[in-house]
Amino acid sequence: MTQKFRIENGGLINRDKKLSFKFNGKTYFGYEGDTLASALIANGVHLVGRSFKYHRPRGFFGAGVDEPYAIVQLYRNNETEPNIKATEQELFEGLEAKSVNCWPSVNFDIGAINNFLKIFLPAGFYYKTFMWPKSFWYRVYEPFIRKAAGLGVASTKHDKERYEHKYEYCDLLIAGSGPSGLASAYAAAKNGARVILAEDKPRFGGSLLTSDVNIGNQSGEDWANSIISELKEMPNVIVKNRSQVFGYYDHNMLVMSEKVSDHLPKTKKHHPKQRLWYIRAKQVLISSGSIERPLVFGNNDTPGVMLSSAAKEYLKVYGVLVGKNPLVFTNNDSGYETAIEFKKNGINPIILDSRVNPQSEIIDEAINLGIKIKFSYVVVAAQGYKKVSSADIAKISDDKKQLGTIENIKCDCICVSGFWTPTIHLASQSGNKTKFKEEIDAFVPGTSKQNETTLGAANGIFTLEETLKDSFMAGQDLSKKITNNDNKISFPNVVEKKSSQHDKFWCVPLPKGKSYKRFLDFQNDVAVSDIEIALKEGYRSIEHVKRYTTLGMATDQGKTSNLNGLQLVSDIENKVVPAVGHTTFRPPYTPISIGAIVGREVGKHSKPTRKSPMHSWHERNNAVFVDAGVWLRPRYYKQGNENLFEASKREAKNVRTNVGVCDVTTLGKIDIKGPDSAELLNRVYTNAWLKLPVGKARYGVMLREDGIVMDDGTTTRISENHYHMTTTTAQAANVLSHLEYYLQLVWPELNVNVVSTTEQWAGAAIAGPKSRKLLEKLFPNNDVSNEGLPFMGYMESELFGVKARIFRISFSGELAYEVNVESDNGQFMWEKIIELGQEFQVQPYGTEALSTLRIEMGHVAGSELDGRTISYDTSLEGLISKKKDFIGKRSLNREAFTSSDRQKIVGVVPIDKKTSIPEGSHLVKDAQAPLPNKKLGHISASCWSVEHDNPFSLAILKDGKNMIGEKLFVMSPLKNKVIPVEIVSSHYVDPKGERVRS
């Protein structure tokens, strides 16, 4: 197939490598180095999509990041991605893309009926229409809008691609590789500074690739290539293409997205698809250039109307003609450059210039080439539906208010140039308060806020010579301050054509009797009339006008529309643009894929996985694991065809009748040393600690300053000034920080050191009536009798030559011990316990059985200590010392904490002794009461009591103290359950606590 719009020679594409691709199911050909956009235009395809609101035909408007129209759904390597700009997507063999926001096809789109209903869809239409009746929103409006709106479909499949994050530090980060980026990078690199030069496009050089200039007797493109090759060789320079610096954050942190593989048919092995760079730079040079502004006229969204700079880029970079009968509509000299390029390639353009009688070298050149120019002429409206076929043009009066007779001329594209808008996004994101520059009718950066300097066109400097001079100097000066080197670089000779002043004109008035839509925002379909309505309805702040009309709120973030919108508001309001002000620029500058933001932190990689030293034994013995914070803990050990319920019941029962062993390595452990350790504990815990003897453990509860329980656990006095504190698994890190806070900031006079030893010790809880017998086997040389090692006693020993700590503490409510050995010996300890426990029917038990045992015993855990309960609520008020002060004590006299019907922990048993009670259910008095049914409390934990062989739950219940014996209902609307229950004591097993002391 011939490419009708590809010129014979020229462009920077590789004509030796032909690539085939599919668009909307049809196969086309392009060349290596094409974008999807340039390849489509080469094939004469100008209709790529439908607009967001009115479903009007959409073509190409730009040639890069500013593109508002050409958004496609991309298919690559069995994956699909929405919101891809055809102007940025590089062509690869086998690329497939489809139009979005159209059904059933881009050529015949049912939604286009909105175009004829547009009178009914003015600014704020959604706000006004879908307000009432309220119930209609969920049922009717929202589903309808969801179906109609959207720019593509997100894949619901798991993304198999890899995305990486990288952290980098540099002296100078330079965003943009146009003339200013290259010059400043070169100067800084020569001074030995560590430089990162980032370019969002595949090719370096920016405007040098398309402008007719000469630097040091080389073409702009050749000069750019020679600088880049030299920079690439330098060890202190990182040069990155396909890399967009999209965000400027605090303290000179910038984020850049590098598209490593998006231009390839498939990501190479060991390569990521994209890489996100977090760059902390000492200095930032913003050389992001400028974006051409559109001119506003009737039907200016018709496919074939595009920026003149884009038309020039398609021609010079890709060898593609955007039309063979072009009309150039301009208010400045840039349009002439495009027209001259057309002419050089044998095409005869017509120039309409809104200016009366401009004079410059470029205009002279156009005249000399014989290009037809009409001064004081404007395009009134584009004609043609799916592609421009002609233009209505007219002479315009000097005050730009009156149109002359309308003439119609044939053309197949309209290249517009309304002068240039500096790309100030990064500077603005850095906190720089921008200022309005009258000469260019645009905002430029003001005083630097962080260490940033804006150069060249981004700073409103549009001549090459000045840009290069400024940039060489900036690169040199800034790097000199960092490296102390001062390499002088000779400034090259620059040849460029001088331009004349642009016309302060940007919007063509409507001819009498016509109501053409004149679009400002091409992606969100915001027209001049929408802004007028918003202002008429009283919106004044530009931030409000933006949100009401959605101007600049599409995925292109108004790169081509913002300034024209501001101009319009200021014209109507009779204000100057700086008084109106611009809306805030926020990162990201361009859409960034969620995958890149997430990076490698997906699924199991999102947090570390911690395993106990006994993990491999658990694995070998059919443990089913559960995530407990970052830990993996055995939930139960499966035997045969057992399910969770059966296994945990068996394991718990075995603890109550024989002996069980549970891996408790995950418990937080903090080593506390120093002469004031006892005093610290006395202030941190609610109970008294000063008199705890050496070799004894004590249970303690610690509060936050607001009186809420923070954590509980046992602390053991190892020696005179040495304590071993345990915390719950979940609170381990918080408790350590908490202790450090008080020691470092509040009571620095206390001589105490704290350090986490969670990972230094492997722990095994040995629980059950036969646990002492097992312990005798494990430690035959120690007296572990009730007298030798009483409840809450502590002993140091050796487990067959391995140093061990034995604590007589119990979470299960049975006679129990906890043995700790150094982590490396954990597996050895565990295997010894299992081996020597065989004769006592020892079985390992997991977290599910552990829960069962503690619940039926009424021991509290995280589900009761949930950040909302005080000691009283969890029946731990007996541990509150009246004699001493401690953290949080002063809060306990708060009115709500002392009220007589305060909530309290209770036990809950279903009347039928069969129905399990879902955790989180509510307790109510009357199951039939109308909603909202008054909640008296909630179920915090549920189990199947192995002692009583029926379901049992713990609950936090209002006035729980006086509710024992009451009959209530448990309601779980989530599980659709109503269960009649009886309130009992939370101590369902061994209420006197005799077993632990036996």
Binding site: H251, M253, G431, E705, E740, L745, P748, F886
Partner: protein, 89 residues
């Protein structure tokens, strides 16, 4: 992401630190009789200032020291950082 100078370790990224609130708040002394108002001011009442703010951070993934940071809450500018026991003029 902020760049915070730990007075013990030097310049580090914000993700090594955790925030600890207003550093000007002083905990009332233990065993001292104080009014409800004083206690509430210590536990709850914070000004949420716009502008210069002396705040606590802990260098959690570093030296684990609590430090004081003088920071502008609007611009995030950090003027100075201090050790926990350093006198601030």
């Amino acid at each position: 992401m902020l760049h915070i100078k730990c007075p013990h370790c030097g310049m580090r990224s914000q993700n090594e630190f955790s925030y600890g609130g207003d550093a000007s708040v002083k905990r009332p002394e233990l065993n001292k009789e104080i009014s409800d108002e004083e206690w509430d001011n210590f536990v709850y009442n914070r000004k949420s200032l716009r502008g210069k703010h002396l705040e606590l951070w802990q260098h959690l993934s570093g030296c684990r020291q609590w430090i004081k940071v003088e920071r502008d809450t609007a611009t995030h500018e950090i003027f100075n950082t201090y050790k926990a026991d350093e006198e601030i003029s």
